[in-house]
């Protein structure tokens, strides 16, 4: 690997020492820029009880550019598409180098609590979310049970 930036070392050490509640982020043992992430579905959300696996990768330019994050567990959510890609402003144009892996994961957790169908990535899901929210939430619950529970 190219010499690992201290910023990444520092963040990793802190993540290990003071983990975020409901989230686990473990660096790959061969690639310090790659994190295995598990996010618990937030209480009260349709994802409650689910365990969602994500991958997080810090690109060469990090922290000047945002981490790349993607869901690896199937999820029914208007801001997450079927490839697991996430529509979240801080991962795109609203990225700031003062944000961290920790803050990114907290934002993703928050996105699970508060889906935003007006800024969709998965169009069909967003449509359903707007037209019939009750039905959409039910589907999200079903998917959580089907794909995100052991």
């Amino acid at each position: 690997m190219s010499a690992l930036p201290r910023r990444i070392i520092k963040e990793t050490q802190r993540l290990m020492a003071e983990p975020v509640p409901g989230i686990s982020a473990v660096p790959d043992e061969h690639n310090a820029r790659y994190f295995h992430v598990v996010v618990a579905g937030p209480e009260g959300s349709p994802f409650d009880g689910g365990v969602f696996k994500l991958e997080l990768f810090l690109p060469e330019e990090y922290p000047m550019s945002a981490p790349k994050v993607r869901f690896m567990t199937k999820i029914y959510h208007p801001n997450i598409d079927k490839l697991g890609r996430i529509c979240l402003d801080i991962l795109k144009d609203k990225w700031s180098p003062a944000l961290q892996i920790r803050t990114v994961l907290l934002s993703i957790q928050a996105l699970l609590s508060a889906p935003n169908p007006d800024d969709p990535l998965a169009n069909d899901v967003a449509e359903q979310w707007k037209v019939n929210e009750t039905e959409a939430i039910k589907t999200a619950r079903d998917w959580t049970r089907l794909y995100a529970m052991q």
């Binding site: 201290r6 520092k10 290990m16 061969h30």
Partner: protein
């Protein structure tokens, strides 16, 4: 341009699943080679026609036979499609669209298993790349698939069975990587594990062994699987990896790859108690130039002696050598162990490795490389074609860098290609040997430690190995997990920049007055990272300039470079 359709990271392709529109709008980036361009057009036309034919048939979704055809054509498509960095080829988008349903997904996988030819050097990579972009399958789909595969390897006799089993192994590895986590655990059923381990029997075809080894390695990315596999391996009467690692010097190139991967696994993943790490036993006599373990993208595998490079990930992995040349005429050789896409040549330190974007050596203005699979010389991500037949296993690529007459000459088995000089517009010194490798590719570097096979005649060249003088410690390539373990133990100073954690934080931004940044980082910013206010001014705060920690500088050679200019500015 390198070929990597990697994991996301493809946010720019976010609407790529809507196949029809993309299909009609997709044009490969024009190249400077008309012949190549027409070849590309031709291949795209074939796909469009197939699609139109199908569409006019009925308003049905893609037919199975069309998918078979597209899957079969994927390795060739990869060979001719040069625009992977920005968009996927239309045929792949269609395959992915087809794979959205459970039935479709299983069909695509089975089609790959049946159709991807073993002799095509890009076949295995095609499976990995196709799978990497398919929609995430459900656990049920995966279970259905593995239960239908009938994983028994007792009868790998016919060539058809060989293709099938090779492809199953590649596919299992790719799935394990793609679905790391609970789903990867679900795939590694006792049957699958038994199948992969029994494939390691030395009597099997080396390609079956190779891709079974790689699959086990990828399953082990999920730690629970790693424990399961490790336990099973240790319970065997004889550890198959210990037997297979002896193949590393085998004259057969497929067996050699098995040897490399077995050794890699033993050093990095399935560590065997009584076996010393390979780096402890390397003969480093007259070994003066190596591939640089500190100047490599993160998934490339480097052998313990620093001369073999191998890539088994879906990304386009790059490396530079340890020795820089600034003047004179230099030559090195590379043995081609796999005949797929590799871009081998020269690069300065300014050349960047963007493995996930598919950019490597030859894809920017500071590097130039030859790819003998597609027979292209690459510079600034533009291909220039040279017709002479694709390279084969065991071929020797010669790379001559002439900084006196400013030309670079690539040669294959002693047959020289016309000289090229594009890169010298941007750099005339500071060159390193370098290479970028696509999935499942491997090559061996000779910087002059061994006699050259095809030394350029009539040219008075120097070889890297005669001029470098590294310390013994610099010649050691440690397994990566050892390096990382040590790194994560290192301590950091308290007054460092909150963004890079490298330099002293002594800059305040105006007008917002946020601080905690170093000069280097502050200079890269337009907006304050805390409040997003536009930065008008960056002023140095005196308190922080105070003391410099010597111990810190040893680990951070750049430290002085970045802090000096601003101090000069001040005084």
């Amino acid at each position: 341009m390198g070929l990597c359709i990697c994991r996301d990271w493809i946010l720019k392709k976010r609407d790529s699943v809507s196949s029809q529109r993309d299909l009609d709008n997709d044009h490969p980036r024009s190249t400077r080679d008309p012949q190549l361009e027409s070849q590309l057009r031709r291949s795209l036309r074939i796909h469009r026609n197939a699609f139109r034919a199908m569409r006019s048939n009925a308003m049905l979704p893609e037919g199975d036979h069309v998918i078979d055809h597209l899957v079969l054509d994927t390795p060739n498509m990869i060979r001719t499609y040069l625009d992977f960095g920005t968009q996927l080829p239309p045929s792949m988008i269609r395959i992915h669209a087809f794979a959205e349903t459970e039935r479709g997904w299983i069909y695509v996988i089975k089609s790959m298993i049946k159709n991807i030819p073993i002799e095509n050097p890009l076949g295995s990579a095609a499976i990995l790349l196709l799978l990497d972009e398919c929609p995430i399958p459900t656990k049920e789909s995966v279970n259905k698939l593995t239960s239908r595969l009938n994983l028994k390897n007792s009868s790998i006799k016919s060539s058809k069975a060989l293709i099938r089993h090779r492809n199953i192994c590649v596919m299992l590895g790719s799935l394990a990587e793609r679905l790391a986590g609970p789903n990867s655990i679900a795939i590694l059923t006792p049957t699958v594990l038994k199948y992969l381990l029994s494939n390691l029997n030395t009597k099997n075809n080396p390609l079956i062994i190779l891709f079974s080894l790689i699959a086990l390695e990828k399953f082990a990315q999920t730690s629970e699987n790693k424990l399961t596999i490790h336990k099973r391996i240790q319970s065997l009467p004889e550890n198959p990896l210990l037997i297979l690692e002896k193949w590393i010097d085998d004259p057969d190139y497929d067996r050699q790859q098995v040897g490399f991967c077995a050794q890699w696994s033993l050093d990095n993943i399935f560590i065997h108690e009584d076996r010393p790490f390979s780096y402890e036993n390397v003969d480093r006599k007259n070994l003066n130039v190596l591939l640089n373990a500190n100047d490599v993208s993160e998934y490339l595998k480097i052998s313990p002696n620093g001369l073999i490079a191998r890539c088994d990930s879906a990304s386009f992995e790059s490396v530079r050598c340890t020795f820089q040349v600034d003047e004179g005429i230099w030559y090195y050789e590379v043995t081609i162990i796999t005949s797929g896409v590799m871009q081998i040549g020269f690069a300065t330190k300014s050349s960047r490795f963007l493995n996930h974007e598919g950019h490597g050596i030859g894809d920017d203005e500071y590097s130039i490389a030859y790819d003998g699979c597609r027979q292209l010389i690459w510079h600034e991500a533009h291909p220039y074609q040279f017709k002479h037949g694709s390279w084969k296993q065991g071929d020797i690529l010669g790379c001559l860098l002439d900084l006196v007459n400013l030309k670079i000459i690539f040669s294959l088995n002693g047959v020289a290609m016309p000289p090229v000089n594009h890169v010298f517009q941007n750099a005339v010194k500071g060159f390193f040997a370098g290479a970028s490798l696509m999935s499942f590719q491997e090559c061996i570097f000779n910087f002059g430690r061994e006699p050259f096979k095809y030394p350029p005649s009539g040219i008075n060249f120097k070889c890297f190995n005669d001029y470098a003088n590294p310390t013994e410690e610099e010649k050691i390539i440690y397994p990566r997990f050892i390096i990382l373990k040590n790194l994560h133990k290192s301590s950091l100073r308290d007054d460092c920049c909150t963004l890079c954690c490298e330099n002293v934080a002594d800059i305040m931004l105006l007008p917002c007055r946020h601080d905690g940044f170093c000069f280097k980082c502050a200079n890269m910013l337009e907006l304050c990272p805390m409040c997003r206010l536009c930065i008008d001014e960056r002023v140095q705060q005196e308190s922080a300039v105070a003391e410099e920690d010597d111990s810190n500088e040893a680990m951070n050679p750049e430290h002085n470079d970045t802090s000096t200019p601003i101090e000069q500015d001040l005084h």
